[in-house]
């Protein structure tokens, strides 16, 4: 493997340039940038541009159709400029009594917030214990948590459905919040993060000073965990918002979340796709807004999770 053989050469290269006298420094700098070969050229931007267009096109397409009328889709000479019917179509979506758009929006917001908050709290607590406290059984328990990440949701839906219909909770958003209040991924994520971001000495110092465990957790753990907790919360929120399978099973059609409402929209309006796609855009708008403000954090969250995970 070249990668393993080459470092020595690069060290000599580096020490060479170190020995170089001042006047050559600028040339040296130029050369290193060139050696790294990373100043991206024209074609990289073209490639990325194509990717970006591909990522955004479906949004534009749904606006194009969603702002037309029922005939737009069948028009062979369809214009690529949006029509003026978007608000009208959106109004149809919002006012359709079979879709319950506002209830769905409210349910989506409430349930996703509750799920994100409880996942963050339980994961931070457990992550702190796994990362920084020594206790018998910690290793096997953590392995167990990681192993459960492979268990599909499908494996729980039948008993959960039986349980919630026994309790009379089917149709209640409690039925979609309760099964999602913890996340093995979240525990794993916080454990990884806290392991690396809090030095053990800090905790020992706090203990020596007589701080109780809860105080140590509160003043060191929680403070250190904040960035990771924010990312976990964001990620969980998006996942919960987009979740469909379980809400579709357990919720009543009269009291849906947004994805369930979209499926109702499809079965009611499949002859007029302008209304369906207007609804699609409408239901995506809240997350797009969130993405504008927090997309950067989501990006760095996913990237950090990758390195540590």
């Amino acid at each position: 493997m070249t990668a393993l053989e080459t470092p020595p050469i690069s060290t000599t290269e580096a020490s060479d340039s170190e020995r170089m006298p001042q006047p050559r420094a600028t040339r040296g700098r130029n050369r290193t940038t060139k050696i790294r070969g990373v100043r991206a050229g024209f074609w990289v931007y073209v490639g990325l541009g194509v990717v970006l267009v591909g990522a955004l096109f479906p949004f534009y397409w749904s606006f194009l159709i969603g702002s037309g009328d029922s005939s737009t889709i069948n028009d062979p000479n369809m214009s690529w400029i949006p029509g003026g019917n978007f608000l009208e179509n959106a109004a149809t979506v919002v006012n359709d009594p079979a879709v319950n758009f506002w209830r769905a929006l409210g349910n989506s917001i409430t349930s996703s917030l509750l799920i994100a908050a409880s996942v963050v709290v339980t994961s931070t607590l457990a992550g702190w214990a796994f990362a920084k406290l020594r206790f018998p059984g910690s290793k096997p328990l953590l392995v167990f948590v990681v192993a459960t990440m492979a268990v599909p949701m499908q494996l729980g839906v039948v008993p959960l459905y039986i349980l919630f219909s026994d309790l009379g909770w089917t149709g209640n958003i409690g039925a979609i919040v309760i099964p999602a209040v913890t996340s093995a991924f979240g525990v794993f994520w916080m454990t990884q993060y806290l392991q690396q971001s809090v030095p053990d000495e800090l905790i020992e110092a706090a203990r020596v000073d007589g701080a109780s465990m809860i105080r140590t957790f509160w003043t060191i753990g929680v403070v250190a965990a904040r960035p990771a907790a924010a990312m976990l919360g964001l990620f969980t929120f998006v996942t919960a918002w987009n979740n469909f399978f379980w809400p579709f099973i357990v919720l009543d059609r009269s009291d849906p979340t947004l994805p369930v409402a979209l499926s109702l929209l499809q079965s009611n309006h499949f002859v007029d796709y302008s209304i369906v796609l207007a609804g699609v855009l409408l239901s995506t708008l809240p997350l797009l807004l969130l993405f504008v403000f927090a997309g950067k954090q989501l990006v760095s969250g996913i990237m950090q999770g990758a390195v540590k995970g």
Partner: protein, 325 residues
């Protein structure tokens, strides 16, 4: 403070006399704190997980051996009958085939695309954050929403894709009739939503590769492609294993996209795009047979486990081979 104070004084023979170990209340509290706290902190997770995670899994196993009566809310043990029934259904095998086919059409092109996009993002580009956010935008759209947009674009009669195909002189494709093409369409939805996400994971792994490897390779005269093949790809292996395994777990569970591919949500007139989870939903909440649904859930889990293990073994071997070369 109390127990130790009443202890008889140490016998005079033991000199120098150890001062009696006086453990104050606060010290004992502190020790108790040290021992119990970790369990206290992990308990919210584990208690909730036991209730909403472990219990249902175990109970699914129990139900899968039962003929479950929805009215009486109890069941009768019938052994492996439900499993046998599932495995005897041609629909199950169709669903299995479709699930794998959709999974392959989504996982393979998606990973290849993600690697190349990540390689582009790894270059020294301007407005890094802008491009990174750009590739992640599709991730915020719900799979249901993605499926609605794409099933429109892949419409059989006036869909965008067919319009383009006929414009350039190719025959239109029956996206909703032909099994193969319906899998391509559904896989496209998955790819649209997940490529950017995997790109970012791979990008993070690429950025962790020391830059002097590349410098050295350049000095050795290796071109961009050679560097990519001999440095980037081998260093990505652990991350690729992670990404492939996550994609397997998620991909074999696919439900949202095939469910929304037409307005009936039953996997097509001839089960062209019926997937395992779609079939599970139909058995459980269409035919209301919970015993069979539970058996199918366990079968799905076992399939995921087996495929995950195969993935792990194959990729591990590949990594070792790479190391030997």
């Amino acid at each position: 403070m109390t127990a130790t104070a009443t202890r008889p004084p140490a016998p005079p023979t033991s000199r120098p006399p150890r001062p009696p170990r006086v453990i104050s209340f606060s010290q004992r509290l502190s020790r108790w704190d040290l021992k119990v706290s970790p369990y206290l902190y992990i308990s919210p997770f584990f208690i909730m997980f036991a209730v909403v995670g472990l219990f249902p899994i175990a109970f699914t196993a129990v139900i899968s051996f039962m003929d479950w009566d929805l009215v009486r809310n109890s069941g009768q043990f019938i052994g492996f009958d439900q499993y046998a029934w599932i495995l005897g259904q041609p629909q199950f095998w169709t669903a299995l085939r479709n699930t794998f086919s959709i999974f392959l059409f989504s996982a393979v092109p998606q990973l290849i695309a993600a690697i190349f996009i990540a390689a582009m993002l790894d270059r020294n580009i301007r407005a890094k954050t802008f491009w990174r956010m750009g590739v992640l935008v599709p991730f915020v759209m719900a799979p249901v929403a993605v499926a609605l947009i794409f099933s429109n674009m892949f419409g059989d009669n006036h869909g965008l894709v067919n319009n383009i195909l006929t414009d350039v002189g190719l025959p239109a494709i029956q996206w909703h009739k032909d099994a193969f093409w319906s899998h391509v369409a559904i896989a496209t939805m998955v790819n649209f939503r997940w490529t950017g996400y995997n790109t970012l994971i791979l990008l993070a792994a690429m950025q962790a590769i020391p830059r002097d490897y590349y410098e050295a390779a350049t000095v050795d005269g290796a071109g961009a492609f050679r560097q990519f093949r001999s440095i980037t790809l081998p260093s990505l292996k652990p991350t690729l294993i992670f990404v492939i395994i996550t994609a397997t777990i998620g991909g074999l569970q696919i439900f949202d996209e095939p469910r929304m591919f037409d307005q009936f949500g039953r996997g097509g007139a001839a089960q062209q795009w019926l997937t395992i989870t779609l079939y599970l939903y139909d058995i459980g909440w269409g035919q209301w047979n919970f015993g069979r649904a539970a058996a199918l859930a366990w079968i799905l889990f076992l399939i995921i486990l087996i495929i995950g293990l195969i993935n792990l073994l194959v990729t591990r071997r590949l990594v070792r081979d790479e190391g030997r070369r």
